[in-house]
Symmetry: C2
Subunit: 436 residues, 2 copies
């Protein structure tokens, strides 16, 4: 007994779209035997009909008219893998208004309009699933939404950008410079010719906003994320980290912070490089892999690890969402839709970290005293200091005790004004606590 086929309209046929078409067509009997669903690709909307496509993409399903696809009454589920805001947003909205469920991998769109789109889905009694938007093939979003639905999640700490993790892994393991590692990433196709979205942390920030929204049930937007990329990270930073049992990772950190006199929690969302202890599970996440570390009150510590990008892993996540959406359509059910109130965002200024700070100064008597005095005047307490001679100059490397970000930023502003201070050559926050 076969089920009535579920008809799919796919928007976009790039790497993810083509991989999805492949696993659906090649996996038909597997999908039916494992899930009971029969998937039928009804149409594939593409921007340019004359572009070459992989041989398995059926030519007769291609169309240049995505609006016809999202309003086609014979189509059950719209799969949006085109990316970008325009026309993806209006197509998704039109699909929901036409009572279709939607599966999307569009992190940019969701990080700006996630709650708006969820609200529309809720009102239409349909699903919007987006497992593939964060950490590719890793079943993270559904775990947070369903398995951990009743958990008080305290913190989510993720390596969610494979390109930058590859670059940092090469620097750590091969001792090559940032620019050589970037070149290697570009040669392997991990980084774009214009790498700014990855290396400046924009991609990770969009994912951080989505993760924070799901983990804490509040509407967190891309603009709420404090962002710092990896372009300033040097081999000297790695050498220091290694000597102290640490490595460097670009982290997306979402934190739920309860403060006195505030009935609701505040949310901090930030993306920045961090010193991570080699004993932390995130430290051993190498190359282009992603991993997300979740801390909750009852569940304790969890980590999800896998391929965060690539056509097939991403398509696998999209396919899981399609099956789930099909199952819900069959029962007339939807996923749980809780409205997400506005988030109260805690600025990174207010957070406390330990900081690694490296400053090149003129190597003459009294300079360390001048610099240390500025730290002290701003109540930034120094845990350890190393001085390295560099000929005419010396490098001062500090690890602070826990200090407020704004106090440290003020300190650095004032240190810069000292005649003896030549340049800030290292500034990295520490994950957890460094005490050696």
């Amino acid at each position: 007994m076969s089920s009535i086929p579920v008809r799919l309209g796919i928007l976009g046929c790039g790497n993810v779209g083509a991989s999805l078409v492949k696993i659906i067509l090649e996996g038909q009997s597997l999908i039916e035997s494992q899930t009971g669903e029969v998937l039928e690709i009804a149409a594939i909307a593409v921007r340019n009909l004359s572009v070459d496509r992989p041989p398995w993409v059926p030519r007769d399903l291609l169309t240049g008219d995505p609006f016809a696809v999202v309003t086609d009454p014979t189509i059950d589920i719209i799969v949006e893998v085109m990316g970008g805001y325009d026309p993806a947003k209006i197509l998704i909205e039109e699909a929901l208004r036409s009572k279709k469920s939607v599966v999307t991998a569009n992190k940019s769109l969701l990080s700006d309009y996630g709650e708006e789109i969820s609200r529309l889905a809720r009102n239409q009694g349909r699903d919007v699933f987006f497992e593939a938007a964060v950490a590719g093939g890793i079943p993270l979003i559904r775990s947070l939404k369903v398995s951990l639905a009743a958990e008080r999640v305290r913190r989510v700490t993720g390596i969610v950008n494979g390109t930058t993790n590859y670059i940092l892994t090469r620097m750590a393991e091969d001792g090559i410079s940032y620019s050589d590692a970037l070149k290697s990433a570009q040669e392997l196709g991990y980084a774009e010719a214009d790498p700014v979205a990855d290396v400046e942390g924009f991609d990770a920030s969009a994912k951080a906003a989505i993760l924070a929204s799901i983990a804490f049930g509040r509407n967190v937007l891309l603009q709420d994320v404090s962002r710092e990329g990896i372009t300033a990270v040097t081999l000297d930073d790695f050498a220091f980290a290694k000597r102290h049992g640490y490595t460097l990772k670009l982290l997306a950190i979402c934190e739920w912070i309860e403060t006195e006199g505030n009935s609701d929690g505040k949310i901090s969302v930030r993306v920045h490089p961090a010193m991570v202890s080699l004993t932390h599970p995130l430290a051993s996440v190498r190359d282009a892999f992603n991993a997300v570390f979740v801390e909750g009150d009852a569940v304790g510590e969890l980590m999800f690890y896998g391929r965060g990008a690539g056509g097939l892993p991403t398509a696998s996540a999209v396919l899981g969402d399609i099956i789930d959406a099909a199952h819900n359509l069959r029962f007339g059910s939807t996923e749980r839709h809780m409205a997400r109130p506005e988030a109260q965002i805690l600025a990174i200024d207010e957070l406390e970290y330990q900081f690694y700070i490296a400053i090149d100064v003129s190597d003459r008597p009294g300079v360390l005293g001048q610099v240390a005095t500025v730290f002290g005047e701003n109540n930034v307490s120094i845990m350890s200091m190393e001085q390295v001679g560099l000929g005419q100059e010396a490098r001062l490397i500090f690890i602070t005790h826990l200090a407020k970000e704004h106090a440290v930023q003020k300190t650095l502003g004032e240190v810069r004004k000292l005649a003896a201070a030549k340049r800030l050559v290292g500034f990295i926050r520490v994950l957890g606590k460094i005490d050696n």
Copy 2:
């Protein structure tokens, strides 16, 4: 607007049951705001009403009559956290017949009767959820069932017993013997006074059977699992492993194997200690943590990591299941129920591994030749050999090339008959490939 409360009947109030009561009672407003569900504990069935309970367990909800609970028409969901077969099995069946959904953490029961219970649930139009039965708080079962529903999973490799992982971690890191590490585990409450269920791999085998059933959609039973515990692992084994960049872990391995001329796949399920490369993500899973490594055709490599036991993490998984079951009851939907055909089991005899084998022999000329000849006669090819002098005796340590298990077992049987062979002191399979 509050929902109509979902009424829970809880069977058992040990560590997991009491933790569940705690997080439900203390988390009521959190649960309602995050999930929309209002959970009401209707009854807690216990074996002995006069036993002391933690102070937060409401005395007026305790009952000695579990049959009244599972048939109570005002109760929506039965939560079975009593463990064991009897009366857990009959209570779960009675609950399903009374049209209740069931959440259970009972790995033993599921590893023997999982398909039978699922079939009953299917016929009754209700859910049986069991996230907590494998790897405690880690959202693994739902990820395999839903997110990876359409994935061709090839292999699942797990550290699913925290007690043995703690013991092996102590041996590896502190260089203490198996019996001292076991004593330490018992002092910390990680191991029972009678540790046999953990150290002989019974607990891991039950979880392996459940994992294989879910990952491959076939009915795999506890009796299908090849089982070997950790009691024979020595510090010498660890020393050898370390020198070669490996460590030792007790693994549960579920594998889907396609052979020529067989239209369906065969399944291998086994639990045994293994040499794991230090670069493998499972190698860095320390202490009582669990982790499960999943390999699929499209998704590639995934790993799920977290606390596999303990009252609160396990209760967190149970609570996630309760919320999911409540959501389905509200919609009149259920999880996808696919019948699981009988599994074709591939015996461990038929598998190929590289083997680490250590044999103590009389230290006189010609013995190595005798031993090596037996290996050769059985077509077990030796990749490397080390000889260590032990006074009157010598230890021969072999790493074989890939060899069939039955050929290696035959080899060892014949080696034992050699007058010069004193004892087999090490026998461990290698995960993946060792070539140094």
